[in-house]
Amino acid sequence: MMLLIVLSGFLFSALTRPIGSIFKQALPWVFTALPVLLFIYFCSQIGVVSSGDSLTWTYKWVPSLGLDLVFELNGLSLLFALLITGIGSLVFFYSTYYLKGHAYMDRFYGYLSMFMASMLGVVLSDNLLALFIFWELTSISSFFLIGFNNEDPKSRKSALTALSITGLGGLVLLGGIILLSSIGGTYSFSELLSQRNSILSSSSYCWILVFVFIGSFTKSAQFPFHFWLPGAMKAPTPVSTYLHSATMVKAGIFLLAKMTPLLGGTPAWNHTLMIVGGITMVYAAIHSLFRVDLKGILAYSTISALGILVFLIGVGTEKALLAVGIFILTHALYKAALFLITGIIDYQTGSRDVSQLKGLQHVMKPVAIAGFIAALSSAGFPLFLGFLSKEIMYEATFKYAEIGILLTAAIVLTKIFLLVAGFWAGISPFTGELPENLKATKKPSPILWVPPLLLGVGSVLFGVFPALIEQSLIQPVFANISGLDTSIYLALWHGFNTVLLLSILTLIIGTAIYFQWKPSEGKFARTLRFEKISPQTLLEGFAVGFHTFAGVWTRAVQNGYLRNYVLSILAFLTVIMGYRFYEGVSIYLDWNQLSEITPSEVIVVTLMVISIIFAIVSTSRTASIVALGVVGFANCLFFLFYSAPDLAMTQFSIDTLTVLLFMLVLFKLPKNKIFSSKRIRIRDAVLSVLFGLLIAILTLEVFEEPSVTDISKYYADNAYLLAKGRNVVNVILVDYRGMDTLVETTVLIIAAIGVFSLIKLNLNPSKEQ
């Protein structure tokens, strides 16, 4: 069941073509049905999960690698699954109009459902390897979606940046997963959980943290890897809504939340997350004030919100983890709405410049309502869901030991800036006088404005009646993240206290700034001065440098000269073997076991040495070939001396053939020339002598070992009994190892055909004489 649910998206994506040809124009609606159905399914599971159970499905995939598809539906994964399918439904629905008539509509839906399926896989996988695979699949599908407008070079560049950052992060994450499993002996997360203590005390705990953090930070756009997210806004707005605010970027948060009960609770975990999350949220919040592009504002405020989540996971107290659960939901609801609204404005007016857009409420009332709700929820006005999450957040930081004040100050500051950014995105375009040039703006289609309005309804509904989600959704999420079963409660009214005061202060200061601060091109331009030292520039510089280095390295090593490859391989071999011999080599030759040297043998050896040297140094080709022939015949004599008549005969015939053929072919070639310089020749000679020495020493070492004759003995003993042959060599060839011989004759045939075709084949017919 669950397998089908997760894979249905992949299935749809793979079948995009056939579906497209069957349903034609109705294709988007067919695809939209998918997330809707999945959403209904997951809603039906709320009851089961909220009672504290978790559902598990297991499918064997690659058991030998410990890679099973184990899907576990618990509180945390259910929340994410609901977001993925719920917001997915809205986005799929919205896009039917937004991309109407686009040439690659089918492709878009194919990518989108692939992404949805990968995302579901990430949040539902219990097996960490499977999680990694789905994790990378989200990066890949988001690459296609960001680069959807593939004719735009900027779009392609952004897609590539996003892919390289998140993909690299994923690879690092894999390192962390493998380390984890090497300690725990399993890839199953639920089994690892029971080994928390051994993992925490292990020496590689620190590395696991680093790897998991890098994986999460790249995915969730944390400082200093945040820059791919604003770039990713090149994607069509529904994609930004879906991937870059509601789901994909939250995968990193999801991973951290999932890992909290396993890896969390240590100072290293808490402090790193607090610092990185803190920097990200403040940095990005300030940045968002300087943008004029609506999507730019939203991108930075999203980064900031992700920073808040990381920060809260870092704070790690019960309240903070509760705030994580609620804020994930809150943020998804209002940020997706804001993105969709931006998309509508962009679609209807063709502009996203916040300093130009005014008074649109006169032409698009429902959109304006959705915008107001989203902005107010983001600001955290009472009676909106944002208020609840903000209260709990403040409470969590305020009560945090000594540095509570500092943390609270940071989060209040962030919240103030985010309020301003939210107002700019959700309120500013709709208020004021409608400028002349926007008078002609048409009323948007309901397909466009219904989704953001629905999200707004959610924000209000859950904000007014928190009981709706308290036990059903948030409680199990909290239980999963914290690993505790403390009961939680969400209340609208906490009484008059410092937190409430801070909350009111946030609203007042934020609103005041909103009325005073006007984003403009000039202010935006000023921020660009800092680009030189931004992480993006530094990382891109690194990438370019790496590319250059790779080029230089390749040119140096892969230079296209075969002999240089041979040279470096053998030089390396000589060095390591030489090192081994340097370490100590034992050659004890038992002179008694060796055969005697007879005068005839001495003559043959002398002859051989002379002819080898002659073959090498001779300048005449003919002389070289003749010397080579002598080497072969001397070889043949050795075989004859030492009881190998078969070999001697074969070597003799082959040698005759080779020398004659060589003569035939090379008769008319010019004299040997010396091409290389003296220095190179000396270098080669030294290496060759060393190599020869190495082989000689190795051979002597072999004599150390007793020779293994079991196989030969079997062959020899049974040669006549089983194979009715007396010549054991021949029996081996045609009987024992007949299959090998069969293949060897085939090789010979191939060589003959090669020779034949090499000569007869005319490479260039036009040159035929």
């Binding site: 053939l657 003959a752 000569i759």
Partner: protein
Amino acid sequence: MKSLIFRTASIYLLPLLLLFSIFILLRGHYLPGGGFVGGLMAGVAFLIHSFAFGLKETRNIIKINPGFLMPIGLTICVLAALAPWIVSLPLMTGLWFEEPFKFVGMVGSALFFDIGVYLVVVGSTLIIMFTIADTV
């Protein structure tokens, strides 16, 4: 290579060497020799002949294209390997006639296999030789 002695010698040398190569092939199972050596011997025999009389003459003597020898030889090898299958024995099991033949001795599937090797080697050698000689 136009020496009269060499030519005259070659005329007698070719059949002698060919016979010798077949002799080597057949005795291979009992004494040094076999398909590989025999095939190469035959190759050398033809090469010597072509040195004396030129390639054209050698080709005329062989008549068939040596290229055909290779597939024929390979087929014989494969058949010899498959033969035990028919009597439901594992592949490459040696099958033997009960009684020895005249001149040849015991005949079995291994001998046919060796003949196949012989033909392949002769074929490849000749093909390589002729092709190379053609280019000179």
